[in-house]
Amino acid sequence: MANVTGGGPAQASSEVESPGAGPPATGPPARSRSGLLPSREVWRERILSLREGSIIVVTLVVATYFALNTSSFFTSANFKTLLPYFAPFAILGAGEVFVMILGEIDLSIGGTYLLAPYLFYKVATAGLPLVPSVIIALLACMAVGLMNGFFVAIVGISSFVTTLGMLFALEGLTLIISHGQPVATPGAQVHATTHNVTHVVNGVHVQLPETVNHISTFAKVFGGGVYSELVWALLIVVVLQTVLTFTRWGLYTVAVGSNKLGAAEAGVRVRLVMLRNFVLCATTGGLVGILEAVRSATVQPDTAGANEILFYGIASAVIGGTLLAGGSGTVVGALIGALFLGILHDGLTLQGVNANYLLFYLGLAIIVAMTVNIYVQRARRGHGSG
């Protein structure tokens, strides 16, 4: 609820809205408007009523643990490693939130993630400029979303089955058109130039050659720049949370996910709402695929990697507080869920955990953190059972 009626901040201010005409006996006492800032209790209520509240707490605890125990965690060099790692999950999670609010799931983002960079490569190498090539690849992802929506909303196949089929089909299609071979990402190549730099050694001026790497502006924007993916992630999360909380798109998405028949009776065009959210979700998969291909400068037909990033994306949404059952969810939560996964992965790596143990520890840590998350949620709601 909190995420729909203003992401929480609207929660505490309602009593102010009710005029004197309302029955005064049963309503909570009206808060005075005198103070410029809301009282400490109001802020406390606001923060606690955020769906994302408990995962924020859990993430802060994990980050503090690594900051105290690993000297290299809280360094700018590490942040540069951490940031590109979690940003893709956040973007995928943000798209997935919309489909999950509907009570559906989209596994095909692993497929669009894999296919989109190859489409981009094909179109760009056929001679089109880079940005239009990206747009064409993303349009193809939208078509995939449209097909998902068609099979789920109109034919009536479950979204799990539909998008699982689409995942396999798209991954297979990628293998077919790529012949299983990686290719260099267009526009993402690193150009090394050598400059003679003057140094002063023992009072003597010496010219020494140094290599400087350059990437194009296109590459810097689309994933190659250090903060590029982070900026994309933040931008997408802000835009999509706004769409979810403050527009009809979000309102109808929640309505359909919460009560499909009721929404239809009220006049909401249920199929249209489902279609457009599947389109949105599939597109985020394609965008992340292209960003990652530009960042690594190669397009890889790596189906296992695509499946892994798909699950990290869904996990980010779920960890962030979006219900698999539908009806409610939060995009900001998906960002924090992704950050949590990123910190955990990064922190464990820095602690020198053996690569073979990493996934095992990661799995255990997710379950422990989610257990804590549930208890924090119950505590703030003031009752003992979920």
């Binding site: 729909v4 203003g6 009710s18 309503g27 919460s258």
Partner: protein, 259 residues
């Protein structure tokens, strides 16, 4: 039974039939609604009342028969289209969204936005919703909570308030008192009486309690076995007569089943 054709009929329904696979919900239903009138629609469970309401509201389409709104052919393709022509409905299941706030529910599909921007005008909707609920006199302490947290009667009141607050001139109420206590129920009946006095809207209302029917309605139409079995002004009928029709039908059906 051919409905009498008065010039002030706002809504006329002629020979409507609707089947769901092997089940015939409506065989041949004809009825009419005059301007400013409150028509009580009666009938046993499964008689087809709700199906008729859903056809009138544009949610489903009839297999046969015609409808006329203000004398012109009326064939809504959607709930939105029916609403645009002035027909709005309180469904039996209330069509409320549990996860949305009271005021978002009240404005569902009629949201106010900050034109030309697409953002919801929540403050305006809150004020408007509060005003509408106060007008009915239903006690909803907070209108920014999810409707899931409200009682059955409060939910029902919100569904009724939502429909009444629109600018429809024909209201279809499918069991508006179903989940209500005596006090809340009489509030809704008071509201219906007030609307009748104002004379702006005409109402078709499904009710189960015959005392309520005689109190609130100008006329009753009873659906039995997918067709209209009785159509009388309430002044000319009684609880006894209405009960007898239903009981006779039940006895006949049982006798038929035993023979």
């Amino acid at each position: 039974m051919e409905p009498s054709r008065a010039p002030d009929d706002v809504l006329r329904v002629e020979h409507i039939a609707k089947r769901f696979g092997p089940v015939t919900a409506l065989r041949d239903v004809s009825l009419h609604l005059r301007k400013g009138e409150v028509l009580g629609l009666l009938g046993d469970n499964g008689a087809g009342k709700s199906t008729l309401i859903k056809i009138l509201s544009g949610f489903q389409r009839q297999d046969a028969g015609e409808m006329f709104l203000h004398g012109r052919p009326y064939a809504p393709k959607s709930v939105d289209e029916a609403r645009a022509q002035g027909i709005d409905t309180v469904y039996q299941d209330l069509a409320l969204i549990d996860e949305l706030s009271v005021y978002h529910n009240m404005f569902l599909r009629r949201e106010r936005v900050h034109r030309p921007l697409p953002f919801l005008a929540n403050r305006e909707m809150k004020h408007e919703a509060r005003r509408a609920l106060d007008e009915i006199g239903i006690n909803i302490p907070r209108i920014d909570v999810a409707v899931a947290r409200l009682s059955g009667g409060q939910r029902q009141a919100i569904a009724v308030a939502r429909t009444v607050n629109g600018d429809a001139d024909i209201l279809l109420l499918d069991e508006p008192l179903a989940a209500m206590g005596a006090k809340e129920g009489s509030m809704i009946l008071d509201l219906v009486a007030r609307l009748k006095e104002e004379g702006r809207v005409s109402i078709v209302m499904i009710l189960h309690n015959y005392v309520h029917v005689l109190e609130a309605c100008d006329r009753v139409s009873m659906i039995q076995d997918g067709a209209i079995a009785l159509d009388k002004p309430t002044a000319e009928t009684s609880v006894e007569e209405l009960t007898e029709i239903v009981v006779n039908e039940y006895r006949r059906a049982r006798a038929a089943a035993h023979s």
